[in-house]
């Protein structure tokens, strides 16, 4: 056998590495946290990596997990060894095919990074709800609890399935295992070959569909035989445990790593035993070892083969001395007699007792509990609490651990300070920004240390819920023994605070162990830095006797020409002061790793990083810590006192990173949260903000229109209202004749600005004396912050402009409409959110939004704070996210309910006509509601109706009161990205467009799966490189507009705000006014395009001017008027597509990796554009396609 290679990788890579080498076909679809497995498989195929038979597997991205499962099923039936990778909702979509695959006894393995299911809320994090939901499908289930196991079990599952013919799910906990970086011994190809019996592979092929040996499979069966046929598979399931056991035996012989179906760890005479599977078993094992050494009679049974559940093997694993068992499930099954694993264990024991096969003296008491849902921590303290509970005379059953359940009182108390970690493990925590490269540096550090055969290393990374200005916390452990601590670090020997402002916002030293080393990246010099620390930070440093090291990372980065990236600098500091490795040796390794990591990016990048390393040591110093606390700086308040009660008590806790402390009673029972909470979270993520120059401004509203984050607001008001304005408050006379006493103010909400600079880019007004100065310019925030806060407060006292007096038809007019989508956590300079904000401005007070899962549902609905808000009257968009695939149907359902209730309201109104008055009834039903004035009058009528109804009595009255608001026309919008509209939700979008009902579909088209990290969709243009299209997309994007136009009765528009904001505005208004279905395709520049987001609008313009994104509208109402419904709104292309493409990394990458292919695809793109343009011109000229 070849010598096994040792490396540090994450669980996804560990599993995918084996799966790829053992399969011929992979049908894939991205879903967190499993996407990496699919991405790696696709990448390896594009690199020509082969499986153990010497073939390059065919990796194919499908339109959904349902599609992937179908393709898997088909490939299996045709004889290919086939796999897929998925999680959560993806696995749910695979269920129908899973029944088929299992029912047909087809050998295969699905690799699952187990994740929570969307219930009261979506969660991307790890638990086992998904794999538990597919128990009935007939798939065997093999669980891994560590990164090494994810690697090993991937092989064991594949070997076993080929022999058993029963398909397998191989799962491991999402994030905790899938994303944990740990040291792994890789399986060489010859071990894989030794484990996979080629005769079984040939047998698999022989069972395939083959016209030379035809048969049929998938018959429709009747009551006479279906049942018997269903039972025919039973022997195969009965054989699985034995097969897996033998496979594990063989694996152990080959590798030395021995596994069992049920592993037992602990005292041989243990009385209290925990049973569980997945990553929690590692922490449980660690805790059992700790407690056993201290004389406690405890043990843990870790389950590998969960399905088929072999009671025999389970009993063999349990020590005969066991008196009490706690079965832990990482899922919740409401209304059940207990969670799945608990049920299995109790049934197995009950059956054993009943049939006399239980060998122990008496049956143990069994209790079940839930833990770790959605990656909730599962720590030694919690595990000890379970053991303690088992020691009680009457332990609590159906308990929870890890939360405080003050409603059903299910939770166990635990000691959070209980720790099993010894001094032999070095524990480091690093607080960084997403943008500063902290995570990348730590991954690199883990690799460096992991390469040392003496050391083991583990890394786990906690990310923010925001996409801009996001914070990261890295938990990194090193030691001389394998690290099984599958939980976050509680007390760290080393704290790295890579951003100084964190020190005021969060308690970064809370996890510092006494005597720990603290590294602080500080812009303040040696004399100043102590005085800049808040009181409690100083106190902790003194009390815990912390060693404080200071570096001005930004200065070193500047000197080394590294810009804002301080990763290499902070990494060097860590090695210099942590003592985990001799300094010189560490620096040599850092440099070697820099060459490896950055070599591909060029000599210059390497040189800069080398310079940074060399400069760092000279700038790093230890601060002599004073004896006394001198600071008067207090930690910043999380939310202001005027925030609503819920925000104070619940939201603020989440914002402060203390959401874990919230008890069950604090949370809504049904996932309903208040609107408009981002306004309470002043993130202050940008040091630069726009500064308005009233004297230069032409009041066009462009800056406000394009601001992705809703931070630029305008009001017009009578100048008399300026009385009492703070000195800093700016205003200008309104730039319209005939309003001599009217002032105009453009107010920047500086604390909410992300510094994206789109406003400055779009500003057309320049100083006459200094052309580099615009009407809005970026400037340092610090000098203006206090004044601007006062100005904002004053601005909010000014009356909101009357919607009925605002000119909705111009960009200039829209700036006076309240944005009801504000301060989202989208990427700085996001290309989607300006459209969303515009939607909220135009129709927000009567808007219902169905939002497909994706970027827009994350920046729109990810806790703790959400951006959809209410206007000054308390009205605002009502927003919900169902799933990814069903959003068109979900929104359509909203329309159906709205229409139904409106009809019912009209019927009830008619029935009460005599009491309510003819005039009011007639107007409520028939008055037009197109303009804002008309809608306002209708609101008055509804108010009047309610007033009159209150005075009446009877069931009809009550019913009408409950739905009277439906008389104000509701605007139903279905939002989502191209992944939804072009791929997974395509059939729903198509069906809803074909319905003829009044729904509006807004596709925020980034031409890629943005939220899951840049996978190609059917909207991805030809020649663009994306994940799943490593070699450049080979075919052109789908023309969804033409597809929709073909119905004839669908309003269709293609818009790009950066090219023609007025056309965008017109399209939104026309779509909404159209009484049938509407579709707007909105070009949304995106970070996944590989552009400087500051120039996103320019790039939109290029997309239009090269003909890649022709602006158009198709309005069926115009056809009814006898005119051409198709209007081509952009001029004939003035630049070639290459001129547009060369500004984006997604295209440039291919020019670097494969210039010939890039040229060929770009030529095809150009020809495609030329042909499409001709077609569009013909349509514009003739009205025909």
């Amino acid at each position: 056998m070849a010598e096994a290679k040792v490396t540090t990788i994450d669980g996804n890579e560990a599993a995918a590495d084996v799966a790829f080498r053992l399969n011929e076909v992979c049908a894939i679809y991205p879903i967190t946290p499993s996407s990496t497995m699919a991405e790696l498989a696709d990448q390896w195929t594009s690199e020509g990596r082969t499986n153990i038979w010497g073939n390059v597997p065919d990796v194919v991205a499908m339109q959904s997990e349902a599609g992937a499962a179908g393709a898997v099923h088909g490939a299996l039936q045709a004889g290919a060894l086939t796999t897929t990778f998925t999680a959560s909702q993806g696995l749910m979509l695979m269920i129908p095919n899973m029944y088929k695959i299992a029912g047909e006894l087809t050998a295969c393995v699905f690799h699952v990074a187990a994740r929570a299911l969307a219930t009261h809320g979506l969660s991307i994090f790890g638990d086992q709800a998904d794999v538990m939901a597919v128990r009935p499908t007939g798939f065997a289930q093999l669980a891994s609890s560590s990164v090494q196991e994810a690697h090993d079990m991937a092989l064991i599952a594949q070997a076993a399935t080929l022999q058993a013919r029963v398909p397998f799910i191989h799962f491991f906990d999402g994030f905790r295992t899938s994303h944990e970086v740990n040291k792994v011994t890789l399986l060489p190809d010859d071990v894989l070959r030794a484990m996979i019996d080629d005769d079984l592979v040939l047998a698999h092929r022989r069972r395939a569909l083959n016209p030379d040996n035809p048969f049929i499979r998938g018959t429709a069966q009747n009551p006479d035989v279906y049942f018997q046929g269903r039972e025919a598979c039973s022997p195969f399931y009965a054989a699985v445990p034995g097969i897996v056991e033998a496979t594990m035996e063989k694996f152990g012989d080959l590798t030395g790593r021995r596994y069992r179906l049920f592993e037992y760890f602990g005292a041989p005479d243990a009385e209290r035993v925990i049973v569980l599977m997945g990553s929690g078993a590692e922490a449980a094992r660690e805790t059992v070892e700790f407690l056993s050494e201290r004389g406690e009679s405890v043990g843990v049974v870790q389950i590998h083969l969960y399905r088929p559940f072999s009671a025999r093997h389970f009993f063999a694993a349990l020590p005969p001395s066991v008196r009490a068992v706690a079965v832990l499930d990482r899922t919740k099954e409401p209304g059940s007699t207990g969670e799945p694993l608990y049920q299995d264990v109790t049934v197995a024991l009950a059956e054993a007792a009943a049939d006399g096969t239980w060998s122990g003296s008496r049956l143990p008491r069994v209790i079940g509990g839930r833990y770790g849902l959605s990656s909730k921590e599962f720590s030694p303290g919690m595990i000890k609490a379970v053991f303690d509970e088992l020691a009680k005379d009457k332990p609590k059953n159906h308990f929870t651990v890890g939360i405080v359940d003050d409603v059903s009182h299910s939770s166990l108390d635990y000691d959070p300070s209980f720790s099993t970690e010894g001094e032999d493990v070095f524990r480091a925590m690093f607080y960084g920004l997403g943008a500063d490269g902290t995570v990348g540096a730590n991954k690199n550090t883990i690799k460096i240390i992991g390469e040392d055969p003496e050391f083991y290393a583990q890394g786990y990374f906690v990310y923010d819920s925001k996409k801009s200005g996001s914070q990261t916390v890295s938990h990194v452990r090193f030691g001389r023994k394998p690290i099984r601590s599958t939980y976050l670090i509680d007390t760290a020997n080393f704290i790295g605070c890579h951003q100084f402002n964190f020190i005021e916002k969060m308690d970064v030293l809370a996890h510092a162990a006494p005597g720990a080393t603290v590294l602080l990246n500080s812009p303040y010099g040696q004399k100043e830095v102590w005085s800049k620390l808040p009181r409690n930070v100083q106190q902790q440093i003194i009390d815990k006797k912390l060693k404080l090291f200071i570096i001005d990372g930004a200065q070193v980065a500047r000197e080394a020409g590294m810009g804002s990236r301080t990763n290499t600098i902070m990494q060097t500091c860590f090695f210099a002061i942590s003592g985990v490795m001799p300094r010189d040796q560490a620096i040599a390794k850092i440099k070697k790793s820099i060459e490896k990591t950055y070599g591909i990016k060029g000599e210059e990048v390497v040189r800069k990083n080398f310079d940074a390393v060399d400069h760092t040591i000279a700038h790093l110093y230890e601060l002599e810590v004073p004896d006394t606390v001198t600071s008067t700086i207090e930690m910043a308040r999380v939310v202001p006192p005027e925030a609503p009660d819920f925000v104070q008590k619940v939201t603020a806790m989440m914002m402060a990173g203390r959401g874990d402390e919230l008890p069950v009673s604090a949370l809504p029972v049904d996932g309903t949260f208040p609107s408009g909470t981002t306004k309470w979270e002043k993130r202050n993520i940008s040091s630069f903000v726009p500064i308005w120059e009233p004297d230069i401004c032409i009041q066009c509203g462009n800056c406000s229109f394009v601001c992705p984050h809703g931070v630029i607001r305008s009001k017009v008001y009578n100048q008399s209202l300026l009385e009492g304005a703070p000195e800093t408050f700016k205003s200008a006379p309104i730039d319209i004749r005939g309003f001599p006493e009217t002032r105009y103010t453009l107010q920047i909400y500086v604390e909410d600005c992300t510094g994206c600079t789109l406003c400055v880019e779009v500003c057309p007004a320049k100083s006459k004396e200094e052309t580099g100065k615009k009407a809005i310019n970026m400037g340092w925030k610090e000098p203006v912050l206090a004044g601007e806060k006062e100005s904002i407060s004053f601005f909010e006292t000014l009356p909101v402009n009357d919607r009925s007096r605002v000119d909705f038809s111009t960009v200039r007019g829209t700036q006076f409409l309240e944005p009801l989508f504000e301060f989202s956590g989208a990427c700085a300079g996001c290309g989607e959110t300006p459209y969303v904000k515009l939607l909220s401005q135009l129709f927000g007070d009567r808007l219902m939004v169905a939002n497909a899962t994706g970027c827009s549902s994350i920046y729109g609905g990810n806790l703790p704070t959400t951006p959809w808000t209410v206007n000054h009257e308390g009205r605002g968009p009502s927003w919900a996210n169902s799933l990814f695939e069903d959003n068109a149907e979900f929104g359509f359902g909203m329309r159906l309910a709205t229409d139904m209730q409106l009809r019912e309201a009209a019927r009830l109104l008619k029935s009460l006509e005599a009491e309510l008055g003819d005039e009011l009834v007639d107007a409520l039903i028939n008055a037009p509601q197109i303009t804002e004035t008309q809608i306002r009058r209708q609101r008055e009528r509804v108010a009047e109706l309610k007033k009159r109804l209150v005075a009446l009595d009877g069931p009809a009255t009550k019913h009408l009161l409950s739905i009277a608001e439906q008389f104000v026309r509701r605007s139903v919008w279905l939002l989502g990205g191209d992944g939804w509209a072009y791929d997974i939700g395509s059939s729903g979008v198509d069906h809803v467009l074909a319905s003829g009902r009044d729904v509006n579909i807004l596709v925020l088209d980034t031409e890629v799966y943005s939220n899951t990290g840049g996978q190609a969709s059917k909207s991805t243009p030809i020649g663009a490189v994306a994940k799943f299209a490593n070699a450049g997309k080979q075919v052109g994007k789908k023309d969804l507009a033409l597809q929709a136009i073909s119905y004839g009765n669908v309003y269709v528009a293609r818009v790009a705000m950066g090219a023609n904001p007025q056309q965008t505005l017109l399209a939104f208004r026309e779509a909404e006014a159209y009484s049938g279905p509407s579709l707007i395709l909105a070009y949304s520049h995106c970070i996944a395009h590989g552009i400087n987001m500051q120039h996103g609008l320019d790039q939109q313009s290029r997309a239009v001017h090269c003909g890649h994104w022709p602006l158009m509208r198709y309005n069926p109402d115009v056809r009814l008027a006898g005119e051409n419904p198709f209007s081509l709104d952009s001029p004939r292309p003035t630049i070639k597509v290459k001129e547009y493409a060369e500004h984006e990394l997604r295209y440039r990458m291919l020019y670097r990796t494969n210039p010939k292919e890039a040229d060929m695809l770009m030529d095809m793109a150009q020809r495609g554009i030329d042909q499409k343009w001709k077609l569009y011109e013909e349509m514009a000229a003739t009205g025909r396609g």
Partner: protein, 334 residues
């Protein structure tokens, strides 16, 4: 008729050379230039700054959204063979040198010492017969003296000459106070040839957008005057090759430059305007003119109107100006 000339020690079948420009950016373009009749091709410049920019922008753009949000820890596939650095350019030099019969001259625009020397060595190793230094420096720092600026140029020449064995030509700026002295110092410090003159990027204003915009126009025949003057002045006085560039549109400019003393006459604008095959037209024009005037060889006419060879050498100096003034005087008005 003997059209042969020697430039940077290389024997050329005639003096018309394609200068650095977009046509020589691809192998196909270079072959078309050869097929079109060019006697040698100076490749478009390898810009160190461009390589740096590409690397840095790649580094920035690929990482700008990485490790920020749990669902999207990266936005691009991992790419193993993303070519950065001068490889693409060097491949072009290599392929062109191997597949063309005419000499291939590399062109380099560096910004760092290492960039100048390392890339020069790379270009040499890739097979270039000679190297042209496209030194581009705008001394926007108003505290910098003329001597300091000159020293920067000379330093580049010394370093590159110290690094490579192939002939090195300097594409000169016309903006030195004493062009003749500067030319001599270039040669003293090792330059094997001088190309007169480089055309620099001189931005324009966009009056609609009130922005400074890049603008590079193709050269016009009237632009030959300045190089013509200096080639005529320098011919015979320096121990180096001289190449003329700027303003070549017809055979007339070729003839003029040769008579001033150029060893080679370069053009990009004419080839861009009329296509790669236009080099042959220029050579034909030259040949016809020589036939008409009964010249047997290019060598015969080379430098025949240089300052040293004309009847009135002062015509290249003060007299040139006076002659212009005198032309207003008609002999018919006494």
């Amino acid at each position: 008729m003997d059209l042969k000339t020697t430039y940077l020690g290389m024997d050329l079948k005639h003096p018309v050379v394609a200068s650095a420009g977009p046509l020589s950016a691809t192998l196909d373009g270079i072959k078309r230039l050869e097929d079109g009749g060019a006697a040698a091709v100076v490749l478009f410049s390898l810009f160190e700054e461009q390589i740096r920019y590409e690397n840095e922008s790649f580094d920035y753009l690929i990482d700008q959204g990485a490790d920020r949000f749990a669902e999207s820890l990266s936005y691009f596939p991992a790419v193993e063979d993303y070519h950065v650095g001068p490889e693409k350019y060097l491949n072009l030099v290599r392929q062109a040198s191997e597949s063309c019969d005419i000499p291939i001259i590399g062109s380099l625009n560096g910004i760092s010492d290492k960039g100048w020397t390392e890339y020069a060595k790379d270009i040499q190793s890739a097979g270039a017969r000679a190297l042209e230094l496209n030194i581009f420096y705008i001394p926007a720092d108003i505290s910098l003296s003329g001597r300091e600026v000159e020293e920067r140029y000379l330093q580049v020449v010394r370093k590159v000459k110290g690094a490579v064995a192939i002939p090195v030509a300097v594409k000169m700026s016309p903006f030195f106070s004493s062009i003749g002295e500067m030319a001599r110092r270039f040669v003293d410090d090792g330059a094997d040839g001088l190309v007169l003159f480089n055309r620099f990027y001189q931005p324009d204003f966009d009056l609609d957008a009130l922005e400074v915009m890049p603008n590079l126009e193709l050269s016009a025949p009237s632009e030959i005057r300045l190089p013509l003057l200096w080639i005529a002045v320098l011919h015979g006085r320096l121990n180096c090759s001289l190449a003329a560039t700027r303003g070549v549109q017809t055979g007339t400019e070729v003839v003029k430059y040769l008579m001033a003393g150029a060893d080679a006459v370069m053009t990009t604008s004419a080839l861009l305007r009329h296509g790669a095959g236009y080099a042959k037209t220029l050579v034909d024009d030259l040949e016809r003119w020589m036939e008409r005037r009964d010249y047997a060889s290019v060598a015969q006419m080379k430098g025949s109107m240089s300052q040293q060879k004309v009847a009135d050498p002062s015509a290249f100096e003060r007299a040139n100006y006076i002659k212009v003034l005198e032309s207003y005087k008609t002999p018919y008005l006494v």
